[in-house]
């Protein structure tokens, strides 16, 4: 797989993260079925997929926590299987479950990591203070992490993964369970990190999160990569535009659905009294308007807009990201 680097340096710089044909099975469950991906240095790669798609497994393989059954992967140029220690010296990991020690204070958590990385005690304390300051945790520095809110815990966890100044950062669903304000804060932090030259691999099941942060997106479903590209490319792939219609009278929804489907040659979706259909042809809108006028349907709303990533996901995988996430509660971690 190749990725077009926005700065055009793809020939000179090898990808910071590269995986080729990763397979990982847990008993009868195949968590990864030949996944390949690559992230250019200094960019954010968004790994997008529903629960159980294999995102966490892929992250754990790349972060050297799990050996793949097949395929190979390099991080920072080092093989994750044969040179895991070197990979670990380059990476930071923030998992789905905040890996902070809840019995320790914020300062102690960060000093612990710094000391483990071989920093002398004064340097470790200074590093901890610096990170706590940056993540707005100075006031809570002396409190046990178990007293922290969910957002504070995530921030401490992210700070802990940055103690060693990693060049490559793995964020496994970093905003799952966070309120919108905390999520925005975390997004800002990721942007600031990338501004500083860090490469980030971020897994998410939120399409807007990938849209907001990622330079490139890998859509993963049932252990395989079903699409790759920039957010714009992916949206273009699934039909550049979507025609959205809301009849003035709710009982005419079915008529609108039938007409739109017939003229577009695609299956429309109906949600909140609105019919949406991919508009591959610009002649679709006038045709729909004429036909609806002819059959006596008045529209309260008519919009031609770009496809959302949610619709992209539907077009690429044949099912909605959200539906799968709720229907299939089996997380890869749990089946493992």
């Amino acid at each position: 797989m190749t990725l077009s680097d926005p700065r055009g340096t793809v020939e000179d710089v090898p990808p910071a993260i590269e995986a080729d044909g990763l397979v990982k099975r847990f008993g009868a469950t195949t968590a990864l079925a030949g996944a390949s991906l690559a992230a250019a240095e200094g960019t954010v790669l968004g790994v997008l997929g529903p629960n159980g798609a294999g995102k966490t497994t892929a992250t754990r393989v790349l972060a050297t926590l799990l050996a793949p059954d097949e395929g190979r992967a390099t991080v920072g140029g080092y093989d994750v299987v044969t040179e895991p220690h070197r990979v670990r010296s380059l990476i930071g990991l923030t998992g789905q479950y905040a890996g902070v020690d809840e019995a320790l204070t914020g300062t102690e958590n960060l000093v612990l990591i710094a000391r483990l990385l071989g920093q002398p005690r004064p340097a470790a304390r200074a590093r901890a203070a610096e990170l706590l300051e940056q993540f707005g945790l100075t006031d809570a520095a002396g409190r046990a992490a178990r007293t922290y809110s969910g957002g504070m815990r995530r921030r401490l966890d992210l700070a802990a993964s940055l103690v060693g100044r990693p060049r490559i950062l793995f964020l496994d669903e970093p905003t799952t369970g966070l309120d919108p304000a905390s999520r925005n804060e975390l997004w800002d932090m990721v942007r600031s990190l990338v501004g500083g030259g860090v490469t980030v691999l971020l897994t998410t099941q939120y399409l807007d999160e990938a849209d907001q942060l990622a330079d490139d997106i890998v859509v993963i479903d049932r252990g395989t990569v079903v699409a790759t590209g920039t957010p714009d490319e992916l949206k273009a792939r699934a039909g550049a535009a979507v025609l959205q219609m809301r009849p003035a009278h709710g009982e005419q929804l079915e008529v609108v659905r039938r007409v739109a489907g017939e003229l577009a040659g695609a299956t429309p979706t109906v949600e909140h009294g609105t019919v949406a259909v991919p508009a591959a042809d610009e002649a679709l809108m006038p045709a729909v308007v004429r036909r609806l006028d002819y059959v006596g349907v008045r529209l309260a709303e008519l919009t031609l807009r770009r496809a959302t990533l949610d619709e992209v996901f539907l077009a690429l995988t044949g099912h909605r990201a959200v539906d799968v996430a709720t229907a299939d509660q089996t997380d890869v971690r749990e089946t493992a």
Binding site: R88, S89, V100, R115, G136, R165, L193
Partner: protein
Amino acid sequence: MTLDRTVPRDPATAPAPSPPASRRATPAQWASQSVTMAWRSIVQIKHNPSELLDLSIQPIMFVLLFTFVFGGAIGGSTDAYLQFSLGGLIAQNALFLTIYTATGLATDLQKGTFDRFRSLPIARSAPLSGRILGDVLRQLWSLVVLLVVGVVLGFRITTSPLAVLGAFGLLVAFTLAFSWTSVLLGVLARDPEKVQIYGFTVLFPLTFASNAFAPTQTMPGWLQAWVSINPVSRMADALRGLLVGGPVAANAIATLLWGAAFAAVFGPLAVWALRTRV
């Protein structure tokens, strides 16, 4: 919180210019990382006073209860019973404390802390060795508490300081080896609360079906047969020998052989369980 996005390189998070290129941790690094991990396991006590209660109050309570409730009935007098029972109480307490290794490990595995450690460029065994080192320090603290309380209540050490050191050594050696059962339990249980239940379900019968608290003469024959080989009995006897006199060598050797057997069986099992646990 302020994040200045106009500054391209934040000094707090900018990546390190040149990473260390070592293939693995050196033995000196392993030792230092283990000490750091042990510090972590000890400093937790500061924020969790109930653990200090477990480490100090519980052994004191056991000594007081056994001495004053059962002492007269079993040993004829509380004084005589204390001379007999303190070795057993020390052995029992030491086994109970190994549960900390399991609960701590299960917590780390459950909370994702273990993953964080495994993603760091540190020795693979440092999280485990550090935890066990921390638990040895707990053992020593608890042993000192028991001896001091015992002496206050009238326990007389009639041997040499060297023999007392020998008792410390034997206790640490056996509990280190026995900790492997606890490591396996911690990995398999996945839940710190289950660890407590499983642990005490095994440890209560193991420590009480021994000669730790009562002489064996009045027990049924089948129980006597078990009690005479029970590692808790052998360690209790060895500790008695080392603290108040009596045969030591055979009991100490039996204790160490039991320890070696525990380590040989549960060590590889625990390492295997830890490796296969995702």
